[in-house]
Symmetry: C2
Subunit: 495 residues, 2 copies
């Protein structure tokens, strides 16, 4: 091949860019490498002398030499520079000569479907939206009112050379945070646990994944409230579990004898405030579930997701304290009381699970983020956490009242409220036959985010239509205008 | 039950603590609740009048009333306060009366083994140590020399009210970081990718978990280099994969026809610097693996874990750029170039996988941590990343030289070096029959951490004995003293 052909080729497959972003010798290397890979320069082709190519391309000879040297290093070309440089025979040696094709590395994959069955299942049930805040996105706190200055000071305190050890991998979490947290949970939730019973995780999904993988086998049954948290359902499915939905009544999750006969390996529930309906699990039901779980040898994950935000009376004591059977795992999160992007959740586990779950967490995820954990320990111990919650409770109570007025005052006869004692969202059941997905789509078109209640159901036979409305992240004066849009759409749907 | 009995009971099951930590009314509530749960106060028991109990306990009457009110709220007691308060009948209603036992909720679990088979498998292969730094822990960079002040300033820049949106959940990662990263990888690694091909994840383990779950099904085969990264092996096993070890020779991973006949669904490898031996995958081998993977319809994960730290010449171009088949996923991490606790890794995925893997990541993990991502984008774009790497490359080269002198000068005839062209560890194969686990244990007893090479092998038949020594986190003057201990132990083992 003549030098002209090679330099044409080089100029064809690339434009030498002289903006200094990628060095010229790398560009020459890349262009020739691609040409060799794509068989435009077959094995045995003699490359032009570096001096000649340099002249044709208008670059220095050393630039070409550096490009050639890299090709030589990587085995794309052979020979001594100066004596002649030839394209090497690098096509796969496992293939018989007759089958060599220029695009052998680009053969069509054996299947047109790029992902696995498991992957398809995960993607098929995907419920996460691309919009994660705005009126009335559920589960989102007000991040504007977070005490940024305090948090920045605490993070800054630990991002210093004298705390460099906090930049290493974590081994079982930051002890002061585990101590702050048990102290706090003891005072507010009557939870008696030693700091080593605390496992710190990157969010609830990871915490649920850890429990699923360490405590269950593929094909095992996990019992969940229906309606329930779709995110947990997806995490369990991804771990190979069969999710068995159990209906919810006025006393909370209501498993029947037939449900128990399936012998679940895991039970996931939200006793303090059923998600999303806000129903409180009655004491009798709590004790029945604990007894039955012990009979089955099932683990219980108690998700106390909005433990801090309760507007009336003290929050109910958690199942964790009720159980004398060491089968309850308590799950809490800082996503709502602090901010979602923090990605810090925790498990309080019975003593028998400390060792296996700690080992599992280290193996499955490798742990770090000790700077954030140290800052959070101070944030709790210095009282900033409690005072932020006190403040937000008042703010959110006002916003909830505004939302209730705007909805119930307008279309009170069309909806029934569920929840509102705690947390940062309200559920409205529709009294009339209204397609909640259609309402959600129509609202989104007008800039209002609502989640259809039916999305939270697994069992279509019991699914009810309604809306889940988050109010915490919406300023009071923005609530009424967004609610006006919503009530108009709902009225239109029934008329 | 007489008031005396109840108050005795209360005093027995608790000591009222007056240090202000837990309010007195919560302590009264807790003690009575526990007594009711444990059937020390059976259903129908009349609680003493609040005034009487207050006198006996030496507390205010309102304190007792608040405790009673909570019990009433939660259903442990019935009745109007004043008219008489009785313990409610809250034992599980599903059990026939005759079977009621005080400890019904505490029945022995159906199995004595608390965790699942999958959990046992994960725990059984656990290789993470409790000590994560010190001479000569592999994989640990020097965190003292990290530019703490720069990083603190960048994090602080984004922890402000005007950037409050960064505290929300993330939707597909922080765009400026994805742009910085593709720009950087293009200039340094010849990787041509659009920013939307970048997925940001909480560390390599999560990145591998995502690929395993979205791209493979339980029972599928993943092919891995042997020796190889045990952490990846554990993540794949936990996802239900069958890990097939492939031996490594001087050209890198060397899969035979028999290996390919197993039709792996996934191939995990470290072409630029085989982990832990440092061998570079030859070009012919690269192309053969790409071609065979395409034939099998297998995905390739290319782990370029120490891409930045290369002491001689440019790093080799990654497989990702070589492939025209869209079957290569590139994995990088900031654990070594920045610090391990950051927990940020990334995947560069072919266009066909952007959508499914992004959806999978959102469902499986929920994403956040945009503040760190924004700070990292600036850190790269402002040149801090490149200059930190330049500096550390010199520091680490000096440390590597010190370690080689200390080991090879003393026991050069007993060991053979592998690696050293890149990265932050060296591998020494033992020439004599030495038990590397025994050396590691003996060294640990003297405060020196070394990883036995045989730990990295899956297939005992090909396993070789040796040591993996990390030098990056050890100051030069600490290297010789630690090496003296090590060489003495090795000498002793052969004599």
């Amino acid at each position: 091949m003549e030098i002209g052909l090679v330099s044409d080729l080089v100029q064809e497959v690339m434009e030498l860019r002289r903006d200094g972003d990628v060095p010229l010798h790398r560009q020459i290397y890349s262009a020739l490498q691609q040409a060799i890979i794509q068989n435009q320069l077959p094995a045995g082709t003699k490359l032009p002398a570096s001096r000649d190519l340099a002249r044709v391309l208008g670059v220095g000879r050393n630039t070409v030499l550096r490009g050639y040297e890299q090709l030589l290093t990587e085995g794309y070309v052979l020979g001594q520079i100066g004596a002649g440089t030839f394209v090497a025979d690098t096509l796969p040696d496992a293939q018989p000569l007759g089958r060599r094709r220029a695009d052998s590395a680009g053969a069509a994959p054996a299947t047109a479907v790029p992902i696995s069955r498991r992957g398809h299942e995960i993607a098929r049930h995907a419920d996460s939206g691309d919009v994660q805040h705005g009126a009335f996105m559920p589960g989102i706190p007000d991040v504007e009112l977070f005490p940024h200055d305090v948090w920045r000071r605490l993070i800054g305190k630990y991002l210093r050379r004298r705390h460099a050890g906090l930049l290493q991998y974590s081994v079982r979490g930051h002890a002061p945070l585990k101590a702050s947290l048990t102290h706090y949970l003891h005072a507010t939730r009557c939870i008696q646990a030693a700091p080593d019973q605390v496992l710190l995780l990157n969010g609830c999904h990871q915490a649920l994944d850890l429990c699923a993988r360490m405590l269950t086998d593929p094909g095992d049954i996990v019992m969940m409230e229906d309606p329930g948290y779709w995110g947990a359902r997806n995490v369990f499915r991804a771990a190979g579990l069969s999710v068995h939905p159990v209906s919810v009544d006025a006393q909370g999750m209501a498993p029947s004898e037939a449900d128990w006969a399936l012998r679940p390996r895991l039970i996931f529930l939200t006793p303090s405030s059923q998600y999303p309906t806000g129903v409180v699990l009655s004491l009798a039901r709590r004790r029945a579930i604990l007894a039955k779980a012990a009979e089955c040898g099932a683990w219980i994950i108690e998700d106390d997701y909005d433990n801090e935000l309760r507007y009336h009376r003290h929050p109910l004591a958690p199942l964790f304290g009720l159980s004398t059977s060491d089968r309850v795992i308590y799950l809490g999160t800082f996503s709502k009381a602090m901010f979602p992007g923090l990605r810090l959740a925790y498990l309080i586990v019975p003593p028998c699970l400390v060792e296996p779950l700690s080992v599992g967490s280290a193996e499955l995820y490798r742990e770090g983020r000790l700077v954030e954990q140290a800052a959070l320990a101070d944030f709790i111990a210095d009282g900033h956490f409690a005072s932020h919650i006190r403040r937000m409770r008042m703010v959110y109570a006002e916003r909830q009242a505004a939302l209730r007025t705007a909805i119930e005052g307008e279309i009170g006869e069309l909806v029934t409220l569920s929840g509102g004692q705690a947390g940062i969202h309200l559920v409205y059941f529709f009294q009339a036959a209204i397609d909640d997905h259609a309402i959600a789509a129509a609202a989104l078109a007008e800039g209002v985010i609502v989640r259809p209640l039916s999305l939270y159901y697994q069992d279509r036979a019991i699914s009810r239509s309604g809306l889940v409305l988050g109010y915490a992240g919406v300023a009071v004066d923005q609530i009424a205008p967004a609610a006006v849009i919503l009530t108009r759409l709902i009225r239109a749907a029934v008329s």
